[in-house]
């Protein structure tokens, strides 16, 4: 029955609810800059009215639940875009290091090749000149040194990628363990129909970090979320996480295993996928190009050497160390000749003949097994390295923009607005003050009632 007591009880409840609302607003403000935090709102509900004769009276307010505001589909889109961004960024970073080795066209293998053949051309005007012959040896050694230093540096980049594989895998394992633990806390709450709020925020944030590393598929089950890699290898099922392991595999590189199966080739997304793509595809391509160039050049030049005679009239010998074609030819590229006399310029055995220089020079235009001449082969390599890097950079920029867009959307749905919370503070403060005033008013009314009772008694 409506009366002072009912009004007092409504006001008291209101005081409590406004306090709770203030607490939610305070928590939102406190977490305004917390990564992954979704703003919370207190779900207020009007109490069921009571009927008094023919009238219905309201009975105040109660707080239903604290609800986190998030769009789960948007979160999934962000995971996907994050893994693409991580992938492109990892490739772009590594490939920019690789292209740095080929960025100055006035130095390096290309310039050395030209200088080498030019020094041979110079010898054609004076075949017996020792200084010119010496300059051919110098040019050949420069070429060998640049082959070596390029291969060494490409190897070093590949090695760094390999190190980062191990690091990524250990980060992934750490994240999946944490996610499985959170699943264990969230699932019971959800089964009771309760909001897991902050815990879900944490889990989403961790899945976001995991997406940065590799592509993750998220499926919901009654045990919580199930996470698997792009090709379906389970990472987290309910409260169980499955650790990935690494072991040294073919070529001395780290391979990734899930429960004993090598899944290295199937990991294509995220930072790990990007690192693996550079380590296992781009860099081996560069090295194999260099090997083809070095091996083919050495073989062709040696063959041309043997068609002529050196300054002493002897048949030409191998000028470069004969390399087995295939892997390692660039690293093994070496100038065997140490004596300037060894250059087989002569075609008739007399020292002044330059007849075989035409054969040596022809090597510059002779096609390598790749189907291109040495300088064309190198130019193609520069194009490939630049093109890969350019594509990865463009991809990184595009995914970054799209991720920024998605994050804006997420922020629009789930982000904390200081202005909004300030407004809420004012609203709830006003309501609190009003409820307090109601209580003091009822107090006065009650006092009045007591006074009446006292004076009549």
């Amino acid at each position: 029955m409506p009366g002072l007591t009912t009004a007092l009880s409504i006001a008291t409840q209101s005081l409590m609810v406004q306090q709770e609302a203030l607490q939610v607003a305070t928590n939102n403000i406190a977490n305004a800059n917390t990564p992954g935090y979704s703003r919370e709102v207190l779900d207020l509900q009007e109490n069921p009215p009571v009927q008094q004769s023919s009238l219905w009276f309201g009975t105040g307010v109660s707080a239903n639940k604290v609800e986190s505001i998030r769009d789960q589909m948007l979160e999934l889109r962000i995971y996907d875009e994050t893994q693409q961004q991580g992938n492109a960024q990892a490739q772009s970073t590594a490939l920019q290091q690789v292209e740095g080795l080929f960025s100055d066209p006035t130095q390096g293998i290309g310039a050395d090749l030209t200088a080498f053949f030019n020094s041979i051309n110079q010898l054609s005007t004076d075949p017996t000149s020792i200084p010119v012959r010496q300059s051919i040896l110098t040019a050949a050694n420069n070429l060998a040194n640049d082959f070596h230093s390029t291969v060494t540096q490409v190897d070093a980049i590949q090695h760094n990628q390999d190190l980062s594989v191990t690091q990524s895998v250990s980060q992934i394992n750490q994240l999946t363990t944490q996610i499985a633990a959170l699943n264990g806390q969230i699932a019971p709450l959800q089964q009771l129909g309760q909001e897991a709020g902050g815990l879900e925020d944490q889990r989403n944030e961790l899945i976001g970090q995991l997406s940065q590393l590799t592509n993750v598929q998220v499926t919901q089950s009654d045990q919580g979320e199930t996470l698997s890699t792009g090709n379906g290898t389970p990472l987290v099922v309910g409260t169980q996480s499955f650790a990935l392991t690494t072991a040294t595999g073919a070529g001395g590189m780290q391979h990734i295993f899930a429960q004993g199966t090598d899944i290295t080739g199937t990991l294509t997304g995220g930072q790990l996928g990007g690192v693996l793509a550079v380590r296992d595809q781009s860099i081996p391509d560069v090295l194999s190009d260099l090997d083809g160039l070095a091996g083919g050049l050495a073989a062709n030049f040696n063959a041309a050497q043997k068609k002529g005679f050196d300054l002493g009239g002897n048949q030409g010998q191998d000028f470069f160390a004969p390399a087995a074609p295939g892997a390692g030819a660039a690293a093994a590229f070496q100038v065997l000749a140490t004596d300037p006399n060894a250059i087989a310029a002569s075609s008739d055995g007399s020292p002044g003949s330059n007849g075989n220089l035409a054969n040596l020079l022809a090597v510059a235009n002779q096609k390598l097994p790749s189907g291109a001449t040495p300088i064309d082969d190198y130019s193609n390599l520069v194009f490939n390295v630049g093109n890969w890097s350019s594509q990865a950079q463009a991809q990184a920029t595009a995914t970054q923009a799209s991720l920024q867009q998605l994050n804006n959307q997420r922020a629009s749905v789930s982000g904390v607005s200081i202005d909004e919370e300030t407004t809420n503070l004012l609203r709830y403060q006003n309501a609190y003050q009003a409820a307090a005033r109601v209580i003091s008013t009822i107090d006065t009314l009650t006092q009045d009632l007591f006074n009446i009772t006292t004076s009549t008694g």
């Binding site: 292209e99 740095g100 002569s346 035409a358 130019s379 520069v382 890097s389 300030t422």
Partner: protein, 298 residues
């Protein structure tokens, strides 16, 4: 729309503006539009070939300079030999006069011997340490006097010919072997001089006259052979003009490929700076603003 992450957007805008600034600055300071292969992969690859061609053209130019020196030396040696032969012809014509005394004939013969010695010396001309008329045997003098007779032995000189490449697909012959120049059967420069000396010494007017005719015909032959070097010098000189033109073309092509339009880059830098300042100014105004700025304290 609820906007709650203004800072991230503002930061992204600042980074974008500064990235543009950095690119414009790099292009201005290097003078190049392509500073790494990924800036324009096709142009970077083309640039590798362009620079290789430029270096090759420089090398061809250097080769033509060396060859020019060689050809001039050879040409001037042959010119002097022709003068010596002219002198021998006029001495031979005097020797054919039957009224000369023995002493005069000996004197004439000695003068002709002098001309022969000079021709042999010229035939042994060297350029930068190599004997230029020894065929491809250039390390020792090709002509030597063996038992009073000038010989061209295969041990010292041969009939070998060298070629040098002075442009893509263009090789030129760089020497004429001494045997062909000075001992060609039928137009034997040295043989006819030796014959003339013997004839003058013997006092046989007819033989002297015949020998003088032979020297004269050898002289004509040598003049014809000398044309080779004249032509070669012309060819080298023509090629130098072509190479110089090619070098200019390649440099201009390189500039088109990887060079930057300075005016445009400077404009871009100014634009990027303006953008950067505008973004920073906007950020300074927008970021500190919340409702709290307008609420009374407390």
């Amino acid at each position: 729309m609820r906007v709650t992450n203004l800072t991230q957007n503002v930061l992204a805008a600042i980074w974008q503006a500064q990235d543009n600034e950095q690119t414009a600055l790099e292009q201005l300071s290097s003078g190049k539009r392509v500073n790494r292969p990924s800036d324009d992969p096709a142009a970077a690859a083309e640039d590798v070939l362009n620079l290789s061609q430029q270096a090759q053209v420089d090398q061809y130019t250097q080769s033509t300079n060396s060859l020019n020196g060689l050809f001039q030396t050879a040409d001037s040696a042959l010119g002097s030999a022709i003068n010596a032969l002219n002198q021998a012809v006029s001495l031979g014509t005097q020797g054919a006069n039957g009224t000369l005394s023995t002493a005069n004939r000996q004197a004439l013969a000695a003068s002709i011997q002098g001309a022969l010695d000079q021709v042999v010396q010229l035939a042994n001309t060297s350029y930068q340490g190599s004997y230029i008329f020894g065929g491809t045997a250039v390390t020792s003098a090709p002509f030597s006097v063996v038992a009073g007779v000038v010989t061209y032995t295969t041990a010292n000189g041969n009939a070998g010919i060298n070629q040098a490449t002075i442009a893509d697909g263009l090789s030129i012959q760089t020497n004429v072997p001494g045997s062909q120049l000075f001992m060609q059967p039928g137009s034997n420069v040295i043989g006819s001089l030796e014959q003339l000396i013997a004839a003058v010494q013997s006092g046989d007017s007819t033989a002297t006259s015949n020998a003088t005719t032979a020297v004269s015909s050898a002289l004509n032959y040598l003049s014809t052979q000398r044309v080779f070097y004249g032509n070669a010098m012309n060819q080298v000189s023509d090629e130098q003009t072509t190479l110089s033109q090619e070098s200019t073309n390649l440099k201009s092509q390189e500039n088109t490929l990887v060079g930057v339009d300075m005016a445009q880059a400077a404009t871009q830098l100014t634009q990027a700076q303006t953008d950067d300042q505008a973004v920073l100014a906007a950020a300074a105004k927008v970021l500190p603003m919340t409702l709290l700025n307008y609420l009374p304290p407390g």
